[in-house]
């Protein structure tokens, strides 16, 4: 809960083995170990996107990734999802290599664009990942009904995506991401394109869904209040090359409501994240002097 949590992070990884004998690696949902990412190495378009990322996310935890645009937070999420490969380092999801986790569909994913398939009805959108897993039709249908109930869109099962508002489309996208019952949900600014009112409503809905299902969430955002409102921990990243400059523990507990947004603890955490973001920029300017 202190601003010095970046040291906790370094400590938890450097002397991991003795310190974590009671919590074996298999229990953590995501483990990112010494990951660097370089795009187009050795060419004029060379970009250092991520540097020395170490992060452990426990099962059931909600973690927000925040940082200025271009800091590589989406890149980090895609590396966890095995949609991109780390240049160096290792990523474990549910104790497996990220690649294996993707093949096993261990996670669900949602993006800023809902990415709904406009030629499929809402329920058939939700059923697509199940179809690819080889579930039979009746089992798929039963599951999609369940998911629609979870996101409170039962009456839109046979609607087409264009008949839904932006917020409803994102709810369908979340239902689809959760359809195969993954323990991990990876989200890349899923509410970024929504208006403020819808956005706050969706945040509350997301927390309810995650509490109902016990899903672990990694949530990329560039909104400080959103990061704080949703997360147990906010991971703050510096501008390129992205490094983790701080981790803010949010002491709001699991049950949050609209009142949470007016709580003093909420504002304290917002301030803490803001300062960590500023600190990240300063550290970036002074890089090489204050290196780990």
């Amino acid at each position: 809960m202190t601003a010095s949590s970046s040291e906790d992070l370094v400590a938890s990884d450097s002397d991991a083995e003795p310190g974590r004998s009671t919590t074996p690696a298999a229990l953590s949902a995501v483990e990112v170990i010494a990951v660097d990412k370089v795009f187009n190495p050795g060419t004029p378009k060379h970009v250092d996107a991520l540097a020395d990322i170490n992060l452990t996310i426990q099962r059931g935890e909600f973690v927000s990734l925040i940082g200025p645009s271009g800091c590589g937070k989406s890149t980090l999420l895609r590396i966890i999802a095995d949609l991109l490969q780390a240049s160096t380092g290792r990523v474990l999801v549910n104790g497996k290599r990220a690649h294996q986790a993707r093949l096993d569909q261990d996670y669900g994913m949602a993006f800023q664009q809902s990415g709904l398939f406009e030629w499929r009805t809402v329920e058939r959108n939700i059923e697509l990942p199940l179809e690819l897993k080889g579930w039979d039709r009746s089992r798929r249908r039963a599951r999609s009904r369940e998911m629609l109930a979870l996101v409170k869109l039962e009456e839109f099962a046979t609607a087409m995506p264009w008949q839904l508002s932006g917020g409803m489309q994102q709810r369908v996208a979340i239902a689809r991401a959760l359809a195969s019952n993954p323990q991990l949900l990876l989200m890349d600014e899923p509410f970024g394109a929504l208006d403020e009112m819808t956005r706050e409503h969706m945040q509350t809905e997301l927390l309810r869904i995650c509490n109902d299902t016990g899903t672990t969430v990694v949530f990329v955002t560039h909104s400080i209040p959103e990061a704080v409102y949703l997360a147990d921990r906010v991971v703050v990243m510096s501008p390129r090359p992205g490094r983790i400059t701080g981790i803010v523990e949010v002491g709001l507990g699991r049950i949050r409501s609209e009142h949470t947004r007016e709580a003093s603890t909420f504002f304290e955490s917002v301030t803490e994240v803001r300062e960590a973001l500023r600190g990240g920029e300063m550290a970036d300017n002074a890089r090489g002097i204050e290196d780990r």
Binding site: R78, A81, L83, R102, L103, D104, Q105, Y107, G108, M109, F111, Q112, Q113, S114, G115, F117, E118, W119, L128, P129, E131, L132, K133, M160, W162
Partner: protein, 261 residues
């Protein structure tokens, strides 16, 4: 609902009909007022008279040309679509097929029809159908290739996150995304197919289609009959366009809805 329909008719159907009627009226007035001789430009009324009195002849010739165009349209669309999918899926096919498709489009149609007519029996329609196929093929191939590349990146990332195979991604995402392009191509190609079928009759072969009838009648004195055959050709072309639009409306409903919003 009925108000909507009334408005639709008033806005979308009446103006083009009025415009067309005005143009035909102007034509009639011009031919009469300036005393244009009927063997230069016939009167619309004479054309209509020839069309109705010789309707069976026009219909028979239109059927010959129409069937040629239709067979070519279907074969060309199937071939163009299939090859575009194959080139998207396999790099080697794409390296072989792309130059071939472009080359085919660059060959003047006239040459090919001449060669094809020599290859097949005199009473065969095959040469003409192959000609139409080749023209349609190129239009469909180019559009579908484009469509296969225009994908929502989020949808593709989602499919990767589902560990979908390339074949599954093709079937579930790329193909449906391509349908609007396919039907745009078919709507574009349909009237062209009629024109190619008609023109390719000018280069030998049987004398039973619209092309040879138009050429024959326009060379003779009865220009109005020639124009009656032209009218037959226009009707076939319009039917083709309407048919392909209807097909698009039925097969790609999501596009229709999105555009009408």
């Amino acid at each position: 609902m009925s108000l909507d329909r009334a408005r639709y008719i008033a806005v979308r159907i009446v103006p083009p009909l009025v415009f067309g009627a005005v143009l035909v009226g102007l034509w009639q007035w011009w031919v009469v007022a300036f005393d244009i001789k009927p063997f230069i430009i016939p009167r619309p009324t004479d054309i209509v008279r020839q069309f109705s009195s010789g309707f069976d002849f026009v219909r028979r010739a239109s059927t010959v040309t129409g069937v040629n165009a239709f067979v070519g349209l279907v074969c060309g669309a199937v071939a163009g679509f299939a090859l575009a999918v194959l080139t998207n899926r396999f790099k080697l096919v794409s390296e072989l097929a792309n130059p071939l498709a472009v080359t085919m489009a660059a060959i003047p149609a006239v040459v090919i029809v001449g060669v094809l007519n020599n290859m097949y029996a005199l009473d065969s329609q095959l040469g003409r159908r192959i000609m139409v196929t080749m023209s349609v093929f190129f239009i469909v191939f180019v559009q579908v290739t484009k469509g296969l590349r225009q994908n929502d990146p989020t949808q593709i990332e989602l499919m990767r996150s589902y560990a979908a195979s390339p074949r599954q991604t093709l079937a579930k995402v790329r193909m449906p995304n391509t349908m609007p392009y396919l039907f745009t191509a078919i709507s574009t190609a349909a009237p062209i197919a009629v024109i190619i079928a008609l023109v390719s009759e000018y280069f030998g072969g049987t004398q039973d289609g619209l092309g040879t009838k138009i050429a024959g009648a326009l060379n003779g004195r009865n220009k109005a009959l020639g124009f009656a055959y032209v009218l037959g050709g226009s009707i076939v072309g319009l039917l083709f366009f309407a048919g392909s639009s209807l097909l698009e409306y039925v097969v790609v409903p999501w596009r229709r809805r999105r555009e009408s919003r």
